[in-house]
């Protein structure tokens, strides 16, 4: 029941937002729906805790929720809620400043809930075709969110995002069809497209088709995840979208793409047994990591800078999953969760910063700590958190990835170490130039920031801090269940 309740609440939102026109109502209802959604998720988690069911099948096996999906759901509903909280104040402000019209606000909420809905479907899809449809749906829902401001840059960014992603995702569809085809001989057509059946009979799948399929899936979903060299849409889309949308893109969309990639990695590994998928992921993970970490040094726009940081982290995660040993998978999963939390916190904070300084240019943002200590400290803490400093959760993930690397390929740890250093240098430099020092006194009058706008980022960082010091056993259990998908029981 709860399962369907979670799925249907955003759907209800979609329907509601087709009618509601009053701005204050709309933002409140958006927040309300997202909160209800998250509360339902908590109920589901509690049930999961009492009956540690490994997976749940629904709707003629078309929907399926295992630990991996559960992580996705929890993240989606939680970040959905906090971002709704952030967009409450943010959108009203935008409306006041006439950056958006009432009609576009309606559109925003409509797409917001459809995005959440497609994500929930994607994370719980057992049918790999449905998975594709949901991710495509999430892409289409976000395209117009990216161009919400209708500035030439926003339109350009959205167009690039749109074209690159639909081409990429079309390739993923081809890969999906190939997998369906590979299963034709061993499974009956109605089951050949179901992930659990495929995973069960993975050894009987045609290996040569699986190789081809994985390449297409990798390029397709890799484009969505922002792996180098398919990442070019990402900085544009992140930088031009409104604050809450950037938070959603970085916190959720990236995860769903990675999630899809992981599903097929598991499948391919089970079927091929030669680690081809792993090799691909290691190579492209490291490539993304190195490429993004170097590019990070050459940024003028705060949001673009953070988008490169996202690419770099996706690279690390992909690399970790590619390593494939137990420590790597566990750290990778942990990393994924923490990264989503921190990154969306960062983008909401950046939204606040931009509200404070009216610019995205890094060199024009100065002395935040003196301008507004709350925002300044949030930015500093978030930046250190994303740079992998203790006592935040990412530190554990980072240590885990290193240890895992040393277990299997010690030499890669050198690249990893150098890359971390390069990234750290860049982030620290930007942090210092933005948060420390004296603000430009002449530049602008600084508007006050409502405390409520700081709550989402603060909440995320608090969770990340707690996870960095203490990992509850329930949480760890889910992680372990999810990890066991990768390495077998």
């Amino acid at each position: 029941m709860i399962f369907y309740a979670i799925l249907l609440t955003p759907l209800l939102g979609i329907i509601l937002f087709s009618f509601i026109r009053k701005a204050r109502w709309a933002v409140s209802i958006n927040l309300f729906i997202s909160t209800v959604n998250f509360i339902a998720m908590i109920l589901l988690l509690m049930r999961w805790q009492t009956t540690p069911s490994f997976f749940i099948l629904h709707a003629h096996e078309q929907l399926y929720l295992d630990a991996l999906g559960l992580i996705g759901w929890t993240l989606t509903t939680f970040i959905g809620m906090t971002t709704a909280l952030f967009s409450y104040g943010y959108m009203l402000q935008n409306l006041q400043e006439r950056r958006i019209t009432l009609k576009r606000l309606q559109l925003y909420h409509l797409f917001y809930q459809s995005f959440i809905f497609s994500l929930l479907i994607a994370f719980s899809a057992n049918n790999i075709g449905l998975l594709w449809v949901a991710i495509e749906g999430a892409t289409l829902a976000t395209v117009l969110l990216v161009s919400l401001y209708r500035t030439p840059e926003a339109i350009e960014a959205a167009w690039k995002y749109f074209i690159i992603c639909i081409v990429g995702i079309a390739l993923a569809l081809f890969g999906t069809i190939l997998i369906y085809f590979a299963a034709q001989t061993s499974l009956d057509p109605s089951h050949a497209i179901l992930w659990n059946a495929l995973a069960l009979h993975a050894k009987t799948l045609n290996p040569s088709i699986m190789i081809l399929a994985f390449v297409f899936l990798f390029v397709g979903y890799g484009t969505k995840a922002g792996l180098v060299p398919f990442h070019f849409w990402l900085p544009d889309a992140y930088s031009e979208s409104p604050g809450p949308v950037a938070a959603l893109l970085s916190g959720l969309l990236l995860n769903v793409a990675l999630y899809a990639l992981l599903r097929f990695q598991i499948l391919t590994n089970l079927s091929l047994q030669n680690g081809l998928a792993n090799h691909l992921m290691i190579v492209f993970g490291l490539l993304s990591f190195v490429f993004a970490s170097l590019t990070l040094h050459h940024q003028q726009n705060i949001k673009r800078m953070f988008s490169y940081s996202s690419i770099e982290h996706v690279g690390i995660m992909t690399f970790a999953f590619g390593l494939g040993n137990a420590v790597a998978i566990l750290s990778g999963l942990f990393y994924l969760i923490i990264h989503a939390l921190i990154k969306s916190a960062i983008f909401t904070t950046v939204g606040n910063v931009m509200h404070l300084t009216h610019t995205q240019k890094i060199e024009k943002i100065r002395g935040l700590l003196k301008l507004n200590p709350w925002v300044g400290w949030l930015l500093i803490v978030a930046l250190f958190a994303i740079a992998g400093a203790p006592p935040f959760g990412l530190f554990i993930g980072e240590v885990g990835v290193f240890l895992a690397t040393l277990q299997t390929d010690p030499y890669l740890a050198i690249i990893l170490g150098l890359g971390f250093l390069v990234v750290f240098a860049a982030l620290l430099r930007y942090m210092q130039s933005m948060a420390l020092g004296n603000p430009d006194k002449t530049a602008y009058p600084t508007p006050p920031i409502a405390k409520i706008n700081l709550v989402p980022a603060g909440l995320h960082l608090l969770i990340v801090l707690i996870l960095g010091l203490y990992i509850p056993s329930f949480f760890m259990q889910i992680l372990k269940q999810a990890a066991s998908l990768f390495i077998g029981q």
């Binding site: 075709g129 495509e136 289409l140 350009e156 079309a170 081809f174 050459h298 673009r304």
Partner: protein, 225 residues
């Protein structure tokens, strides 16, 4: 003349139309060619629905394709391109399209490449599908090539639709189509995508005053934004 031969013929026609699309420069004729290609695809689906008995799914698919891709999308694109630019809607070609021979050579190389790629699959499946999968794959690759070589936003939409056709064709010959639910989902997504294309054509037209995507290069690294 058996059904296999019909399918073979249709697949050859699909490839041919892709080639024509690739080297064409006038938007209008590109849209027509696309309509023809979709029509062939629809026919192929229809043929498949006759080969395999009681496959009403495929029959519906054929109808869907016909309605969506042969009628609606070409009409929509034509409407948009005429509405948005008063000038002669031709794609201001890139250097590659200006040399159709070179371009078709590259395209042929891609076809060869995909044939070679699917070579390994031949042992595992029946002969026809493995040849046809090579054609499907080359349509997909050529669709990407189309996007890369053309500059107009409308051509990009067409390129995407060609890729989409290629994928559908692959699904058709490999697995006799996807399950109906998925088919519908994909069709819905395609519909939304084409509408989004339409929305974007308007936005692009207002923001950069043309549909030439090469003038979209404000967002890049290393320059002041």
């Amino acid at each position: 003349m058996n059904a296999n031969a019909i399918q073979l013929l249709l697949s050859a026609l699909l490839l041919l139309t892709t080639f024509i699309l690739l080297i064409q420069r006038r938007i209008d004729s590109m849209i027509y060619t696309y309509a023809w290609q979709s029509a062939f695809l629809s026919l192929a689906t229809l043929a498949a629905s006759f080969i395999t008995p009681y496959q009403w799914d495929l029959f519906f698919s054929a109808l869907l394709i016909f309605a969506l891709k042969v009628i609606f999308i070409p009409w929509f694109l034509r409407y948009l391109s005429h509405r948005l630019s008063s000038k002669n809607p031709s794609d201001n070609a890139t250097s590659l399209v200006a040399r159709p021979f070179l371009l078709s050579m590259i395209a042929s190389a891609l076809v060869l490449f995909s044939y070679n790629l699917t070579h390994s699959l031949r042992t595992s499946t029946q002969l026809f599908s493995s040849n046809a999968i090579a054609i499907a794959l080359s349509i997909i690759l050529l669709g990407m090539l189309l996007i890369i070589t053309h500059r107009k936003a409308v051509s990009h939409a067409l390129g995407f639709m060609v890729i989409e056709n290629g994928i559908f064709f692959a699904a058709l010959i490999l697995t006799r189509g996807m399950p109906m639910k998925i088919e519908l989902g994909i069709a819905f997504d395609v519909l939304v995508a084409i509408i989004l294309f339409g929305v974007f054509f308007f936005h692009l037209n207002t923001s950069i005053d043309s549909l030439d995507v090469d003038s979209l290069n404000r967002l890049r690294e290393g320059t002041e934004l």
